[in-house]
């Protein structure tokens, strides 16, 4: 007899199963075999598929964790085991909670004083461009923010003649595509130009928009800067062009800026869409609607597991904003600790504060302390090393990694390898990744997962890992790649 639930939402069904799933299954098997003592050419599996720094031995920031511990167990504040301004910060944060406990519900729009500080921090970031705290909505992570914002834009199938369409980059990280599809909206792909450092070209946006005619109703343009999976950082000029395009074509801008703190390129600088918009002046600055997303998962904190983020809404009709409030009200899903982490991320100790060295320095001699400076330094090194090593290997070509968490080199697969992949029923780059997994115990993602130009192949791996892990992975990759290219030449 058929299950009651057999009939399920089309939106859910339309979410594609990842190629990664096949790799993950095999990785699990290998993991089991390793723990059972089966001999392999490697002692442990390394998984660099996810932007998950802590699982890759990047340590949490000491200051952050001390504050959170004191908030969770306030008895710690009466002892002197924790530095003074850790205790002061914890006290301030707890004082803002109902009942002085992190166990009470968080107001859906966040704690007003914390949101106020967040808005001040955004204003500082943007060189003085005003930031209204009423336009900031906290969330349990950026994907949730994106989903809620998109929900506003998406019509149910039977309510409008055409499905809502959202322009999304190729390549694009998977969860964004899944979020959009799960709402029943259509993805309108626009290709980033690999030869130009993955640049966003307006002509390509135009082409994509044209291609959507009659198929769906384009209402929004999703951009991610710094990029994922491609590690570009948009120039001011590029951002201006995008804003002009969005203004002309009446598109809502979804600006995913979660990697704003992760900029490595010497000549690169993160500048927010909001700032550029403001600097462009009227009519743009008054009219173009932008939703900017940020999260505590990325950057140097890397607190993915806490589930915290926010969306800032720019130029939205105030009546629409009221409905957003209703929408998020029923959810109240942001954990208190995540909200505190937002405060710590956006209002870190400043020069002169007692905790500043604890938080920021490159190294603190002897102490088991993890500082921002230490992590930043390590990531910059990782990016440099990864980029150099990969580009030194024939058959690889990697655009400069100016920001973000990943490296996305292009792999020039020999025709024989492509043929073999077809025979095994796999995408060519999935085949490459599967071989890398089997022979070297390294798990990276295939470019087909993110979309790529026909006939090109890529792999993506995360550089937010300890230096040891990155060095080891690059060593194994080098050995594997050299052999693979030789075997299939």
């Amino acid at each position: 007899e058929m299950s009651v639930l057999q009939e399920i939402s089309q939106n859910v069904k339309s979410i594609k199963q990842l190629d990664y799933a096949v790799l993950a299954r095999r990785a699990n098997q290998i993991q089991k075999e390793l723990s059972q003592g089966v001999r392999k050419p490697y002692k442990e599996l390394i998984d660099l598929c996810w932007g998950d720094p802590h699982s890759m031995d990047v340590k949490p920031l000491t200051f952050v964790r001390q504050v959170l511990a004191a908030c969770v167990y306030p008895e710690l504040m009466s002892s002197h085991k924790l530095p003074l301004d850790v205790r002061q910060r914890a006290q301030w944060l707890l004082g803002r909670c109902d009942g002085g406990s992190v166990g009470s519900y968080l107001a859906p729009t966040g704690i007003p004083e914390i949101v106020q500080r967040m808005s001040e921090s955004i204003r500082r970031r943007d060189g003085g461009v005003p930031c209204n705290p009423d336009n900031i909505f906290i969330s349990p992570g950026s994907q949730w923010s994106l989903t809620v914002t998109s929900l506003l834009l998406t019509y149910l199938n039977n309510e409008a003649p055409l499905r809502t369409g959202i322009l999304t980059p190729v390549p694009c990280h998977v969860t964004t595509i899944m979020s959009i599809k799960s709402l029943g909206a259509a993805v309108i792909p626009y290709f980033l130009s690999e030869e130009h450092g993955w640049a966003l070209q307006v002509e390509e946006l135009q082409r994509a928009l044209e291609s959507a005619k009659g198929g769906c109703n384009p209402v929004a343009l999703y951009v991610i800067n710094p990029g994922n999976p491609a590690g570009y950082v948009q120039s001011r000029k590029s951002i201006q062009e995008v804003i002009q395009f969005a203004s002309e074509k009446r598109l809502f801008l979804l600006a995913d800026e979660v990697y704003q703190d992760c900029v490595y390129g010497k000549n690169s600088e993160f500048v927010s869409y909001k700032r550029v918009l403001a600097e462009m002046g009227p009519p743009f600055s008054d009219t173009v609607e932008v939703a900017s997303f940020h999260s505590v998962s990325k950057g140097f904190m890397g607190e993915c597991g806490l589930r915290g983020g926010y969306v800032e809404l720019v130029n939205l009709d105030p009546n629409v904003v009221k409905y957003i409030f209703n929408l998020i009200c029923k959810d109240s899903t942001t954990p208190v600790l995540a909200h505190f982490a937002m405060d710590l991320m956006m209002n870190p100790p400043r020069p002169g504060d007692p905790s500043y060295p604890l938080y920021n320095q490159l190294m603190l001699c002897g102490a088991p302390v993890v500082t921002l400076g230490y992590i930043k330094n390590m990531l910059v090194k990782n990016v440099k090393t990864a980029h150099e090593v990969v580009n030194s290997l024939p058959g690889f070509s990697c655009q400069p990694v100016e920001g973000g968490a990943f490296v996305l080199p292009r792999v020039f697969l020999p025709p024989r390898a492509i043929q073999k992949a077809k025979e095994e029923g796999m995408q060519p780059d999935t085949f490459y990744c599967m071989r890398l997994l089997e022979e070297m115990g390294v798990l990276v993602s295939p470019g087909c997962e993110y979309g790529q130009k026909e006939g090109t192949y890529h792999i993506r791996f995360c550089i937010m890992a300890s230096q040891d892990i990155i060095d080891e992975v690059l060593k194994r990759l080098t050995t594997f790649h050299t052999k693979f290219m030789k075997d299939f030449s």
Binding site: S55, S104, T154, R250, C304, G305, L306, D317, K330
Partner: protein, 516 residues
């Protein structure tokens, strides 16, 4: 077919909220004379279902309460010294203390350097180590699997087996969630489909916890109301379920039946027989059962007992236990923990088709994973200190104190409210709220209607302005036409609660007199 009077209130409330709602011009002149483009998102262009979403627990009355708090803190004179938010089931906000052991373990997990601190008991330390071992990089900051940390799901399964007297539980059927609400909404997202008369219908109790109606509105699902029987202590009537279902079949495709036990806002604890009847009904009518059991430890009345839907299902034999599809939801927000801010929860899926489960797994992966501290906390809730362990005695002491205080307050509430002429309160058998019926004089009803307000909203607003006590009007939960209620939590500390109840009594008498 949806909310009836509640919808009327919604529409009117919204029109009083937005001043410039009527026809935003497509273009307008800016200061420098340039034509500016019309916005992409306007009232007319946003997703229509979003406009239907309401959530009474945090609605206009709470916004007013927050305003009043602000005014008080700025030194404005009011007839009261503080605003009491008896609207939301937030135990810690009302002074309930967290369980020490839980907070110790979570602090150790947050900052593992503390493991070398000998002021923490050994059992807390070993728990923390065990949890951290299951986290990527031994950090709560790493993503977990979307379905939740494996070892936590295993512990949850064992807890369920113990609770249900040995009925087996497969950890694969457990999904950790961001509070129970996340699980409920996810399941609804999964099963709402179809168009027109085959659009999915979901049965919910009236009165109901407004998350359900809000979620159904957002998903564009059809809400099918079945009325709980106030005269019989808010019990569930099968004939009423049948009536609601038969009527709904004319305009939608009913596929699920939601039940909250112990109940919110009504506080009733369903009898075993009632649960069996519901299961039989769901089996006969082929409905997916969604059992919200977050208040499972909050049972106070003599003669009442929590019976888990799953346990009863399995005791009814294979004819039912092999076929009825059931989801049970639990959370760290209620019971004796009251840890709302951690967003911990789980759902157990019974008899779910494998293919559907695969789709569910895909759906939950979109939001990556539930908050790891919440998962860790859930682990502690299902795996508390055991006899012989250093923290056991204190744990039992704290838990007992919290639960017995709640039981006392439940009784006190019922007692005091029933001494008021014009207020009639069913026994608060469980959960955290009283939902008394109030008589509102005709004159007040008239004035409310003229103001475009539901009469019980009018009543509650007045009470807020005059006493500082914030309650939620019954219209926010749904109620039989012509009846009025309010929901008040039993959470304030006993001495404060007594004062509150007296104030409510006083207000009601004054109000009744004023509008007689």
């Amino acid at each position: 077919m949806n909310h009836g009077t509640a919808l009327l209130w919604k529409r009117r409330a919204l029109s009083s909220l937005s001043a410039t709602r009527r026809g935003l011009p497509k273009e307008k002149m800016t200061e420098n004379g340039m034509m500016s483009r019309a916005k992409v998102l306007t009232i007319d262009t946003i997703n229509p279902t979003v406009k239907k979403v309401e959530y009474a627990v945090r609605g206009p009355i709470v916004q007013r309460a927050v305003e009043l708090e602000r005014e008080l803190s700025q030194g404005m004179k009011k007839p009261f010294a503080e605003v009491i938010k008896a609207n939301i089931g937030d135990a810690h906000a009302m002074g309930q203390q967290p369980i020490t052991f839980f907070r110790q373990v979570l602090a150790l997990c947050s900052y593992p350097e503390l493991l070398s601190d000998n002021t923490f008991p050994e059992d807390a330390k070993s728990r923390a180590c065990r949890i951290l071992q299951s986290c990527g990089g031994h950090s709560m900051g790493a993503y977990s699997a979307s379905q939740g940390i494996d070892s936590v799901r295993e512990d949850v399964a064992r807890y369920i087996e113990r609770r249900d007297g040995g009925v087996p539980c497969d950890p694969d059927d457990i999904y950790l969630t961001t509070g129970a609400s996340d699980g409920i909404v996810t399941m609804l997202k999964l099963l709402v489909c179809g168009e027109g008369v085959s659009r999915t219908g979901v049965m919910i109790s009236i009165p109901q916890y407004p998350l359900y109606s809000a979620a159904l509105a957002e998903l564009g699902a059809v809400q099918i109301n079945y009325y709980l029987n106030e005269e019989k202590c808010w019990s569930l009537d099968i004939p009423e379920l049948q009536r609601a279902l038969d009527e709904a079949r004319q305009y939608c495709n009913p596929r699920a039946l939601c039940i909250i036990n112990p109940g919110n806002p009504t506080g009733q604890v369903q009898s075993r027989k009632c649960i069996e009847d519901v299961i039989r009904f769901a089996a006969k009518e082929r409905l997916f059962l969604m059992a919200d059991e977050v208040y499972q430890d909050n049972v106070y009345a003599d003669g009442c007992q929590f019976h888990s839907f799953k346990k009863v299902l399995f005791e009814m034999g294979p004819e039912y236990s092999d076929t009825v599809e059931l989801a049970s939801f639990h959370s760290t927000s209620k019971c004796y923990m009251g840890e709302c801010g951690f967003r911990g929860g789980y759902m157990e899926l019974i008899n779910m088709d494998d293919e559907v489960k695969a789709q569910l797994t895909k759906l939950v992966s979109v939001r990556l994973c539930p908050p790891v501290p919440g998962q860790a906390l859930m682990d502690l809730v299902v795996n508390p200190p055991q006899p012989g362990e250093p923290s056991y005695d204190n744990f039992i002491k704290e838990r007992t104190a919290t639960l017995s205080a709640l039981a006392e307050k439940a009784k006190l509430t019922e007692q005091v409210l029933n001494t008021v002429q014009g207020i009639s309160c069913n026994p608060v058998q469980g959960a955290m709220y009283s939902f008394p019926r109030i008589t509102i004089p005709e004159k007040a009803v008239k004035e409310a209607t003229e103001k475009g307000q539901q009469p019980d909203m009018f009543y509650c607003m007045k009470m807020l302005e005059e006493t500082g006590i914030c309650l939620v009007p019954g219209s926010g939960f749904g109620q039989k036409d012509g009846t009025y209620h309010f929901r008040m939590t039993i959470l304030p500390p006993s001495d404060k609660l007594k004062i509150l109840l007296d104030k409510v009594k006083e207000f009601h008498q004054k109000f009744t007199q004023q509008y007689s």
